[in-house]
C-alpha cells in the first residue's frame, strides 16, 4: 500500500475497507467507548487516592455543616460562666468504680479551685461526680436545615443542665465542640456562596472577553489586572472596616462574602477566557459552525462542555482560598462577629499567649481550617488531573 504513485487511474476495485468486525468487541473497550466524559473523569478521579480521601473528608465536613444542630450537643449561644476555660473531659465508656463493669457513656464533673493569690480558676476532674451522657438525647430545640424543628442531639448529657465540655470550654464558658460544629456551617458555606458569586462574575466576564475579543477583551483584561494588582488583605480590611456597624449578622455575612468574591472572580475570568480563546480556533468548533449551529449552540453545546470539568476543578480549588480569607478576616476581628460563629471568630480567642498557655484546645478550630482546606485542595487537584481524560 506504500506504492501510491503506481496506483494511477484507471482505478481498480479497492480492497475492502478496514472492516468494522476487525475492531475487537471486548467488553472493556465497549464500555470505554460509550462512556461519557463525566464517567471518564470519574474513573480517572477514583484512581487518585489522595483526591478520593479528600472527597470523603470534604463530604463529611459538609454533612457536619448541614446537620450542625443535631450533631452539636448544645446551641452556639449556650454558655455557663462558671466553666470558663474548662479543660476537655474524657468520655468514659465503662464505669468500674463500683467494682463491676457498668457500661454506659459518662463524663466526670469538675472540681474547681480558686487560687487565693492570683484568683486563677483551675479545674480538676471530680471522680465522684458522674454525668451520664446519652446518644440521641433531648436537649435544646433547633431546626434541621432551618425548616424542621427538633430537639434531639446526637450526643449530650442526659440532664441538659450538666456541664459537658468534650473539647474544653472557651473564655466565655461556651462548649468548644458545639461552637466548632456550628462554625462549620458558616465557614464552609461562605466558601460556597462566595465562590458561586465569583463564578457568575468570572464566567460571564471571562466568556465575553474570550468570545468577543478585540477591545472588549482588552478592557476586561485590564480590569482583571487591576483587581489582581491590588493587595488583597488591605483591601479586604478596608472594605470590611467600612461596613456599617449597625448591620445585623446576616447582612454582614453577605457583605463579607461579596467582598471576598469581588477579588476571587479574576482567576476564574482568566481561566474561562483562556479556554474560549484556545477553543475558538479548534477545528471542531469551526466544523460546528459549518454544520449550521447557531452561535448559542456553538457556545453552550460545543464549547462549554469541553471545559466544564476544568471550571469545576478551578472552582473547587478556589473554595479553600475563600475559607482562609474569611478565617483571617474574622481572626483579625473585621470579618464576621458574634453571635455568628465561624472558625475564624473562634480563633480570635486564641490571640493571646496567656489564653493559649492555659487553654491550648482553643487552637482546635485552626485544625478544622487546615483539614478542610487540605481536603478541598486534594479534591481540586484530583479533579484538575482528571478533568481532561482525553489527554494521555
Amino acid at each position: 500500500m506504500t506504492d501510491l504513485t503506481s496506483q494511477a487511474p484507471p482505478r481498480e476495485p479497492d480492497p475492502p475497507p478496514e472492516s468494522p468486525a476487525a475492531v475487537p468487541e471486548t467488553p472493556g473497550r465497549r464500555s470505554r467507548g460509550t462512556a461519557s466524559q463525566r464517567r471518564l473523569v470519574w474513573w480517572r478521579f477514583k484512581q487518585h487516592r489522595l483526591a478520593m480521601a479528600g472527597l470523603i473528608v470534604t463530604a463529611g465536613i459538609y454533612v457536619v455543616a448541614v446537620f450542625a444542630g443535631f450533631l452539636a450537643p448544645f446551641s452556639s449561644s449556650t454558655f455557663d460562666p462558671e466553666y470558663t476555660y474548662a479543660p476537655p473531659q474524657r468520655l468514659h465508656v465503662v464505669d468500674r468504680s463500683g467494682g463491676d463493669w457498668d457500661w454506659g457513656l459518662f463524663v466526670h464533673g469538675y472540681r474547681s479551685t480558686v487560687d487565693d493569690e492570683t484568683l486563677e480558676l483551675t479545674f480538676e476532674p471530680d471522680e465522684s461526680q458522674k454525668i451520664d451522657v446519652g446518644l440521641f438525647v433531648k436537649g435544646e430545640e433547633y431546626e434541621i436545615l432551618g425548616l424542621i424543628p427538633w430537639d434531639r442531639h446526637l450526643i449530650g448529657p442526659t440532664n441538659p443542665d450538666d456541664p459537658m465540655y468534650l473539647l474544653g470550654g472557651t473564655r466565655t464558658g461556651h462548649d468548644l465542640l458545639s461552637r466548632m460544629i456550628h462554625g462549620t456551617t458558616v465557614s464552609m458555606s461562605i466558601g460556597l456562596v462566595g465562590v458561586a458569586m465569583a463564578f457568575v462574575l468570572g464566567v460571564t466576564l471571562g466568556g465575553i472577553s474570550g468570545y468577543v475579543g478585540g477591545r472588549t477583551d482588552l478592557a476586561i483584561q485590564r480590569l482583571v489586572e487591576f483587581f489582581m494588582s491590588v493587595p488583597s488583605i488591605p483591601l479586604w480590611l478596608g472594605l470590611a472596616a467600612a461596613l456599617p456597624p449597625e448591620w445585623g449578622p446576616m447582612q454582614r455575612y453577605f457583605a463579607i462574602t461579596t467582598i471576598l468574591a469581588a477579588i476571587a472572580w479574576t482567576d476564574l475570568a482568566r481561566v474561562v477566557r483562556g479556554r474560549f480563546l484556545s477553543l475558538r480556533n479548534e477545528e471542531f468548533v469551526t466544523s460546528a459552525r459549518l454544520d449550521g449551529s447557531s452561535r448559542q449552540r456553538v457556545i453552550f453545546r460545543h464549547m462549554m462542555p469541553s471545559f466544564s470539568s476544568h471550571l469545576i476543578a478551578s472552582v473547587t480549588l478556589s473554595v479553600p482560598g475563600m475559607i482562609l480569607a474569611e478565617t483571617s478576616l474574622s481572626f483579625l476581628g473585621l470579618g464576621l462577629q458574634a453571635p455568628v460563629v465561624s472558625w475564624g471568630v473562634l480563633l480570635q480567642d486564641a490571640q493571646n499567649i496567656r489564653a493559649m498557655a492555659t487553654a491550648p484546645w482553643l487552637l482546635l478550630p485552626g485544625l478544622c481550617v487546615i483539614v478542610s482546606v487540605l481536603a478541598l485542595n486534594f479534591v481540586g487537584d484530583g479533579l484538575r488531573d482528571a478533568a481532561d481524560p482525553y489527554k494521555r
Partner: protein, 344 residues
C-alpha cells in the same frame, strides 16, 4: 465543456499584520493573491503547494470559514443558478454550506470529544431541520455503514477510534447533508500510509456513488496523482500551473512544478537517481512583501535577471497546451523534466 460548478475569479485574501503597543496595521499578508480557478462538476481537482502557500486559505474562503478580501467565488447550484459566495447573505450562506462541505485535516481536533458519533454526524441534520429522532438515527447509521463503520458505534465517543476511523467519521459528517462539492483539506496527511490508501479509496467510491465534486488540498504529490483528475499548483498565494494530472506530471511547464515533482520519492529502485533532484532554497519569501516580478524568481534555477525580476505584475496563467496553463515568462524556452511513467 460543461459549466463549472465553482468558479473563483481574482480572489484575494489578506490578513493584516499588527505590530506595536496599539496593534497598528503595518502591512498585509497576501495569503491568496489573485487566484483564478474553475472546478468542473464530478471532477477531483488537486490543489498542491508547499506549506504557507495559501492553499488551505483558498479552501477555507470557498467554504466561507474566512471571508475573502476581494474577488468572486461563483457557485452553480443543482438548478443551474449562480450565486456569489463572497457576497451571499448569512441566511443564503447557511443553505449553501449544506451543498459545500469540508473534510478537515486533523481527525483528532475536528471531532468534539464530548459528543457521540450520532451527535457529531447528526448535528448538521439537526441544525438544518432535515431529520430528528429515530429518522436521524437511521440516517446516521446508514451513513456510518456507507463510510465503512459499523452502525453499532453510534453511541460511542470519538476517543474510542483510531485516526483512520475518525477520518471516516469526518467524511460521514461532511456527506450526511448530501453535498455537491466537498473541500477535502489534507484529508489524509495526518494518517498512516496504510490507512491513507483506504481513506483515498473510500473518497473515490463515494464520489462515484454520490456524484461528488472534490477540491482536494494536499502537499503530497503521490496522493494527488492517485486521486485527482486535474491539478492546480500554488506558490505564494498565486496559481502557477493548472493541468490534467498526467499532463502535469509528465510535462510540467513551470519550474516550480518541476522542482516539486523532482522531490516525489520513487519507490522503484531502478528509477533511483534517474532524474536529478532540484533543491530549492529553503526560505519561502515573505508573503507580506512578495518579490517583484515573478514571485518565484528568487528560488528559480532558470530565472534570468532583467526579465524575471522586473517590478510589475507577476506573470499571469497562459495557455500552453490543451487544458494546460502555466504562469512562467520563460515557459516556452525551457524543457522541464517531469516524472517518467513507471516502466511496466
Amino acid at each position: 465543456m460543461t459549466a463549472p460548478i465553482l468558479e473563483v475569479q481574482d480572489l484575494h485574501v489578506r490578513f493584516p499584520v499588527k505590530r506595536g503597543l496599539f496593534g497598528r496595521t503595518v502591512g498585509h499578508v497576501r495569503a491568496v493573491d489573485g487566484v483564478d480557478l474553475a472546478i468542473q462538476p464530478g471532477e477531483t481537482l488537486g490543489l498542491v503547494g508547499e506549506s504557507g502557500c495559501g492553499k488551505t486559505t483558498l479552501g477555507r474562503s470557498i467554504a466561507r470559514i474566512i471571508s475573502p478580501t476581494a474577488g468572486l467565488i461563483r457557485y452553480r447550484d443543482a438548478a443551474g443558478d449562480e450565486v456569489d459566495l463572497t457576497t451571499a447573505r448569512n441566511r443564503d450562506l447557511r443553505e449553501l454550506q449544506r451543498q459545500i462541505r469540508v473534510v478537515f485535516q486533523d481527525p483528532f481536533s475536528s471531532l468534539n470529544p464530548r459528543m457521540t458519533l450520532l451527535q457529531v454526524i447528526g448535528e448538521p441534520l439537526r441544525n438544518h431541520n432535515v431529520a430528528t429522532g429515530s429518522e436521524l438515527e437511521d440516517r446516521v447509521a446508514g451513513m456510518l455503514s456507507r463510510v465503512g463503520l459499523s452502525p453499532k458505534y453510534l453511541h460511542r465517543y470519538p476517543h474510542a477510534f483510531s485516526g483512520g476511523e475518525r477520518q471516516r467519521v469526518n467524511i460521514a459528517r461532511a456527506l450526511i447533508l448530501e453535498p455537491r462539492l466537498v473541500i477535502a483539506d489534507e484529508p489524509v496527511s495526518a494518517l498512516d500510509v496504510s490507512v491513507r490508501a483506504q481513506i483515498l479509496n473510500l473518497l473515490r467510491d463515494l464520489q462515484e456513488e454520490l456524484g461528488l465534486t472534490y477540491l482536494f488540498i494536499s502537499h503530497d504529490l503521490s496522493v494527488v496523482e492517485s486521486v485527482c483528475d486535474r491539478v492546480a499548483v500554488m506558490y505564494l498565494g498565486r496559481m502557477v500551473e493548472v493541468a490534467p494530472t498526467d499532463e502535469l506530471y509528465t510535462r510540467p511547464r513551470h519550474p516550480y512544478t518541476e522542482a516539486l515533482l523532482s522531490a516525489v520519492p520513487r519507490p522503484d529502485p531502478r528509477l533511483r537517481d534517474a532524474g536529478r533532484r532540484i533543491r530549492l532554497a529553503d526560505d519561502l519569501p515573505d508573503p507580506a512583501d512578495p518579490p517583484p516580478g515573478c514571485t518565484f524568481h528568487t528560488r528559480c534555477a532558470y530565472a534570468v535577471p532583467g526579465s524575471c525580476d522586473v517590478p510589475g505584475g507577476a506573470p499571469a496563467l497562459e495557455r500552453t497546451g490543451p487544458g494546460h496553463r502555466a504562469a512562467c515568462l520563460r515557459t516556452d524556452d525551457l524543457s522541464l523534466a517531469g516524472i517518467e511513467p513507471d516502466p511496466v
